[in-house]
Assembly symmetry: none
Homo-oligomer: 208 residues x 4
DNA sequence: CTATAATCGAGACGGTACGTCACGTCTTGAT
DNA sequence: ATCAAGACGTGACGTACCGTCTCGATTATAG
C-alpha cells in the first residue's frame, strides 16, 4: 500500500523521513479544500514544503498519490464491541454514517469507486478495503452467532453490503441534496437501519 | 437535463439531427474506456465525428456533457409491480444488481459520486437521481402500505438507501475482487437482501 | 528559414498574422537582456503576449526559435558602394565592427557558431549566412576588378574571411576585456584593417 | 584556471589523482557530442565514473568546468620561429587553420564566444586567451620589427585579429558548408591570407 | 593503533524550465 | 445559424537538470 521499497542498499542520501507523511497530509488537505479538479501536484508539493521531484520519487502520478493519501487516512474505523448484536450494529452504522460524512471518508469512498473502474492497480487497494471494512462486520457477526443472537445461515457479506450500502447512500443523498444532518438525525438513521435488518438476521423473531 | 434549448427560431442551418446522440454515445464510451482523468472533449468530438464547436454549442462544459451522457443512458430502470411487497422488492433488487453490474449503470454510479463531490451544479443531477430512483421505491412502499403489508412508521428513504446501498456495494465488491457473479448468484443475493430487510418493515412478524 | 508551411488548406482558424514577428522580437529582446541561460520560453511567450502553445506551434523548441529570431533580425547589413575599393572596404569594415558590437549582430554570431557545431539543421542557416554576408564582399570585389583596382587572381572568399574575421575577433576581444570602443577608435580600427589588406589585393603596389 | 587549490593541508584522504583529467576529458567529450544545451553535469560525472560531489569539489559550477576543460586542451598552440616574418605568419596561419579545424580548437572557439556573451567570470578566460594567443603574434611581430621587416606603426592587435579572424571564419565556413579541406587547400589558404596582409605591414613595398 | 578528517560513490533534496496536452474560446470558409 | 477544422491563452502535467545536502565507505595523517 505505502510505497513499495525501491532499490535500497544504504547508498546515497536516505529519503527524508517525515516527507512521506507531510506529502500525504498536504494531499488530503488540498483535496479537501479544492476538490478533484482543483487538486494540483504543485500545490501539494508547495504545501508540504517539498520539491515536485520529491513527490514524484515516491508516487508515479497524481492518481497514485491521491489513492495512497486516501488509503492512509481514509480507512480508519474504530473497532466496535458493545456486547450485543443490536448494539454493535447500531454503533457500526453510526460510525459509518459519520465516516462517510467526513471529508476523509467520503474521499476514500470516491477513490474506491475510481479505483474499481480501472483495470490496473486493483490488488492493493481492494485488499486494504476488504481487510479494514470487511473484517469489521465479520467479527461482529461471529460474536453474535457465538452468543446465539444471530442465525448461522445468513451470508455475512450480505450483512456487510447492506449496512455499508445504507450508510454510503445516505451520505450520498446528503451531499446530492446539499443537506447536513444533525447528530440526532444521524443517530435516528442508524437506529432505523439496524431496526430494518435486525429482524431479518436475528434468531428471535419480533425483536426491535 | 436534456440540451437546454438554445436559440431555435427556424432561421439558419438546423442542427444536425443525429449529432446529439452520437456525441452522448461517444462520451459514455470514452468515459467507460479511460475513466474520468482520461476523458477528453477532443477525443469525444473526434470519436463522434464532429467538431468541438458542435459539442460546445450543446453542452456548456465537460461536466455537463458527462452528466448528461450518463443521465441519458444510465438512469433507465424499468418499473416494478408484482402485486406483493416481497415480490416487488426482490425484483427491484435484481434490477439494481444487474443495473450496477452493467457498464452504463456503473458509469452512472461513478458519475454520481464525482458529481456529489463538487460544490457546483448539484441541482440538476440530484433532482434526476431522486426523481428516477427515489420515486421507484416510494411507489412500491405506498402500494404495500395500502395493502397493509408494510408498517406506516418506516421512513421510506431508509428503505431506499438500504436496498440501493446493498446492490451498489455488491457491485463494487464484484469489481474490486475482479469477480463476475452468475445469474443464479445474483438472484440468490437479491433474495438474501430482501429477506434481511423484509421482516424489519413488514407488518407481519416472522414473514420470510 | 521561417516556419516551413505545414498543412494549410484554408480550414480552421488561421494563425494570427502578427504573432510570428511579435514572438521573434520578444525572443531577441529576452536574449539580449538575460543571455542564453536566462532565456526562457515562458518569458518569451509572456512578453509577446501569446501562449506557449502558440510558440510551440511554430517552432519545435528553444534552439529553433532562437536561431530563427537571430536569423530574422541579425543578418541585416546595409549594402555598400562608395565608388572605390578602399572606400567600400572601409565602409564594410565599419559596418561589420558596429554590427558585431551590437546585441543582434553578436547574437547572430554566437548562434552561427552554435549552429555550425551541430550536424542537423545546417542547411538553411548556412545558406542565409552565405547569401547575406558572402554576397556583399563578392559584389564589392567584382566592381573593383571591373574598375581595374583589384587583381583578378585573389580568391574572394579569402578577402571575405579576412575582413569578417578581423571585425569578429575585434568584437570578441572587446567583450572579453569588457571594453567599449569609442566611435573614433572603431573608425581607426576599420582603417587599419583595410590598410593592412589593401596592398595585398590592390593592383597598384604602394597604395595606403 | 587550474583547480583553485582548496584546503590542502595533508590531513584526510587525498584527492584521487586521475580524477581531474578524467573529468576534463569527459566534459570535453560531452560538449563535443551534445553541444552546450545537451551538456549536463550528471552525464559528465557518469562518463568520468565519479560522483557529482567529486566534480563540484573541484569546480564551482558548470561554466567553470567547461571553461577549464576547454582551456586545458584547447589553447595549445606550438610556438613559431622560422626566421622571417612571412615564414612565421604563414606557419602561424597554418597552425591556426588546423587548430580551429580540430575538435578541441573548435570547442575552445565556441566556448570563447559563449563565455564572452555572459557578464560574469570574464576575467580568467579572457586572460588565458590573451596570454596564449595574443602573446604569440606579439613575439612574431616584435622579432620582425627588430629585423626591420615590419613597420613600427602597425597596431599589433590588428594583425592578431586579422590572422586569427581569417582562420576562424575559414573554419566556420568549412563547417557551415559541411566541407573538409585537404592539406593542400589548407596550405594554399594560409599562403593567401599572409599574402594579403604582408604587403600592408611590411616595410618593403611590393614584397610577396 | 586509534582518532580525526577530507574525499569518494551514490543519490535524495528544493527549485526551475522544459515540451506536451487539455480546457473552453475564437475565427475561418463551407453548408 | 450551424458545421468541421484548428489556432488561441491558460495552466497543470510529468521529466530533466541544477547545485546542495546527506549518507556510509574509503584513505590518508596526527597523536
Amino acid at each position: 500500500m505505502t510505497t513499495g521499497e525501491g532499490p535500497r542498499r544504504g547508498r546515497g542520501r536516505p529519503r527524508t523521513p517525515g516527507a512521506e507523511e507531510r506529502i500525504l497530509d498536504a494531499a488530503l488537505a488540498e483535496y479537501g479544500e479544492h476538490g478533484w479538479s482543483g487538486f494540483t501536484m504543485d500545490a501539494v508539493a508547495r504545501r508540504a514544503g517539498v520539491g515536485k521531484s520529491t513527490v514524484y520519487l515516491r508516487w508515479s502520478d497524481k492518481d497514485a498519490l491521491l489513492t495512497d493519501a486516501v488509503a492512509s487516512h481514509g480507512l480508519e474505523l474504530t473497532a466496535v464491541d458493545t456486547g450485543s448484536l443490536a448494539g454493535d450494529l447500531t454503533q457500526l452504522a453510526l460510525n459509518l454514517l459519520r465516516h462517510f460524512h467526513g471529508a476523509a471518508g467520503w474521499a476514500a469512498l470516491r477513490i474506491t469507486f475510481d479505483t474499481a473502474s480501472v483495470d490496473d492497480r486493483l490488488g492493493d487497494f481492494a485488499e486494504a478495503v476488504n481487510e479494514v471494512h470487511g473484517r469489521q462486520v465479520e467479527q461482529i457477526c461471529l460474536r453474535a452467532i457465538e452468543r446465539g443472537e444471530m442465525a448461522e445461515d445468513i451470508p455475512i457479506t450480505a450483512v456487510t453490503e447492506t449496512i455499508y450500502g445504507a450508510a454510503m447512500v445516505h451520505a450520498l443523498s446528503e451531499r446530492l441534496e446539499a443537506r447536513a444532518d444533525s447528530d440526532v438525525e444521524v443517530e435516528a438513521r442508524a437506529r432505523h437501519i439496524v431496526a430494518m435488518i435486525l429482524p431479518g438476521i436475528s434468531t428471535m423473531p419480533g425483536t426491535t
